[in-house]
């Protein structure tokens, strides 16, 4: 489980219309506020998209974007440190599957090739605690918020 005093990692989700210029407007605001981007992914939903960011300071980024009038939200996610090795993603997902834990959304990135990767999972709140237990039992480390932001 997550150690005391440390919080779960947060992901910043931003609602953007599916048209040119919207991403750059978000990027500009992040740059102006000296926010460093660790990872991002975009979900296309037709007329709009959801941009999900892992950033150096999610609270500050949220306030900056909300100030601009953006619809954005901070969500707790489970960020897992995974050694970059064949079969590790299967190990993680099968452990979750065996415990009947559903993954709502996920994305991953490699930090150092052949050494270290990160996997971010969105899990239904009711299953979050159980999921963290399962992940740790499978031998993976869950990154605390500041660990993730300062990768």
């Amino acid at each position: 489980m997550v150690k005391e005093g440390k919080k779960m990692a947060k992901q910043l989700t931003i609602f953007v219309e599916n048209r040119p210029g919207r991403l750059s407007a978000v990027a500009k605001s992040l740059r102006e506020n000296k926010i460093d981007i660790r990872a991002f992914t975009i979900q296309d939903r037709g007329d709009y998209g959801l941009v999900k960011f892992i950033v150096s300071n999610p609270n500050q980024a949220y306030l900056a974007l909300a100030n601009l009038g953006c619809a954005c939200a901070l969500k707790e996610i489970i960020a897992i440190s995974i050694p970059d090795k064949v079969g590790n993603f299967e190990l993680l997902t099968s452990a979750l599957a065996e415990n009947n834990i559903n993954v709502k959304d996920a994305y991953g990135f490699v930090l150092q090739t052949n050494l270290k990767g990160v996997c971010c999972l969105e899990i239904e709140e009711a299953q979050s605690a159980a999921a963290q237990k399962v992940i740790q039992s499978a031998g993976f480390t869950i990154l605390k918020d500041d660990e993730l932001y300062n990768l």
């Binding site: 219309e17 959801l50 909300a66 953006c70 619809a71 954005c72």
Partner: protein
């Protein structure tokens, strides 16, 4: 050309005879109107307390106009002039501000209306040997049932299929050897594009005519319909405040619509001043119903813009002809034959907390049909970052709009403050349909 008459005597009556009938029926109508709380007030203003105060047709102009708002404010019984035991039909339209309007009909009212419709249909050459497929929506609208009764009165075989389900419509045309359609012009064009899909060829059908109505359309659209379908298409005009369809209808000459002046008194006014325009000039159509007892209607402002032809029609009918509807004096939209006020959409949008107050209504042609898109902004404080929340929100807005306006819109979600903000009077409607 063969010119059929349902009631030759009345349809060709000279002006003075028509005016005599109008005056007699206007007096009768004023008598009925004086039984309603609403018209008691209106007529008192005009110092009319008895039908005897109407000495000539010119006295009509003393009576104040009746508006759609009057109907709403007096919903549901302020214009009811008979006992409920004498009412045999109620038609209602959805309101623009949540309050609908209602029209009551007595048995005799339905008979009068039906007779006018029979006259309309017969004047196009439709007759008892025809098979009539009524593709208009039934229910609370007058378009479906009104024409149904008229067609039965003529003796046609009526197929009460109602709107929608295009493949079934086409198969029905083939199986029952339909000869006459009642349909909106946009839907008629759309149906043609689905023939192949329904595996029916035009040669398999014996269609001869279509009565097109419920939405304004140009002469070009008529010509296109006639060309691609190889049928005669007749324009029609009506509104529930004046019974429903059958107020005016084209005859075999198809040179605009004879307005039955023994049933309705038509005035064309300047919508700004309320004054009568010169003969032949265009303006707002104002109609008085002379043949409905249960819900009398005096000088109703239709908001439709049109003019009256001054030259006679070669068919020999003396009832003047109303032009195609050229526009509206209000912001009402007509989408696939369904009347829609932007305020109806606003009302739905405003009661959903997850959307902000700005919205845009966009109408465009997709193929031959109108398509409605409602764009709303999401309200940032209630955004949870969840795609399922957004999809549920879209679904909910779509469903609430559908039940409020009958049409099925596409709902688009937009970022807060992304839609153009309108200063003063909101310009929230973008109509991209080609202007005719």
């Amino acid at each position: 050309m063969d010119v059929p008459f349902w009631n030759r005597e009345i349809e060709t009556a000279d002006r003075s005879r028509l005016e005599t009938i109008q005056l007699e029926r206007l007096r009768e109508t004023v008598g009925w109107a004086l039984k309603t709380p609403f018209y008691q007030k209106q007529l008192r203003q005009a110092k009319i307390s008895s039908p005897d105060n109407i000495r000539s047709l010119a006295d009509l102009r003393k009576i104040p106009f009746t508006t759609k708002d009057d109907l709403r404010i007096n919903f549901p019984r302020g214009l009811l002039a008979v006992d409920m035991k004498d009412v045999v039909r109620i038609h209602s339209s959805s309101g623009t501000t949540g309050i609908p309007t209602v029209i009551y009909y007595s048995k005799e009212d339905i008979e009068n209306w039906t007779d006018m419709l029979a006259r309309c249909l017969f004047s196009t050459g439709a007759a008892s040997a025809d098979v009539f497929q009524n593709m208009m929506t039934y229910g609370m609208f007058t378009g479906g049932l009104g024409m149904h009764y008229g067609a039965e009165k003529v003796g046609m075989a009526v197929i009460p299929i109602g709107g929608g389900n295009t493949k079934r419509q086409i198969k029905t045309m083939r199986d029952f050897r339909t000869t006459v359609l009642h349909i909106t012009p946009s839907y008629l064009l759309h149906v043609h594009t689905k023939l192949e899909e329904a595996e029916v060829k035009r040669e398999d059908l014996v269609l001869k005519k279509a009565f097109t109505g419920a939405e304004p359309h140009s002469e070009d659209i008529r010509k296109k319909i006639e060309r691609i379908w190889n049928i005669d298409a007749y324009n029609s005009y009506g509104l529930s405040e004046l019974n429903g369809p059958g107020v005016a209808f084209e005859c075999v000459y198809k040179n605009d619509m004879h307005l039955w002046e023994d049933g309705y008194i038509v005035e064309i006014i300047d919508p700004e001043t309320g004054e009568q325009v010169r003969d032949g000039d265009s303006g707002e159509v104002v109609l008085t119903n002379l043949i409905r007892r249960a819900t009398p209607m005096l000088r109703y402002r239709t908001r439709d813009l049109a003019y009256l032809h001054t030259d006679p029609c070669p068919c020999g009918r003396t009832h003047r002809r109303l032009s195609r509807i050229m526009g509206r004096t209000d912001d009402m939209l007509i989408i696939n034959g369904i009347n829609l006020f932007p305020s109806q959409i606003e009302e739905v949008v405003m009661r959903i907390p997850e959307v902000a107050t700005n919205y845009i209504i966009q109408v465009e042609k997709r193929g031959d049909l109108d398509h409605l898109t409602v764009k709303v902004e999401i309200y940032p404080k209630l955004f949870l970052g969840d795609p399922s929340q957004l999809e549920a929100l879209k679904g909910r807005i779509t469903e609430e709009l559908r039940s409020a306006i009958i049409l099925h819109p596409t709902v688009e979600l937009h970022e807060p403050n992304a839609l153009p903000v309108s200063e003063g009077k909101a310009k929230r409607v973008i109509d991209l349909r080609p202007k005719e």
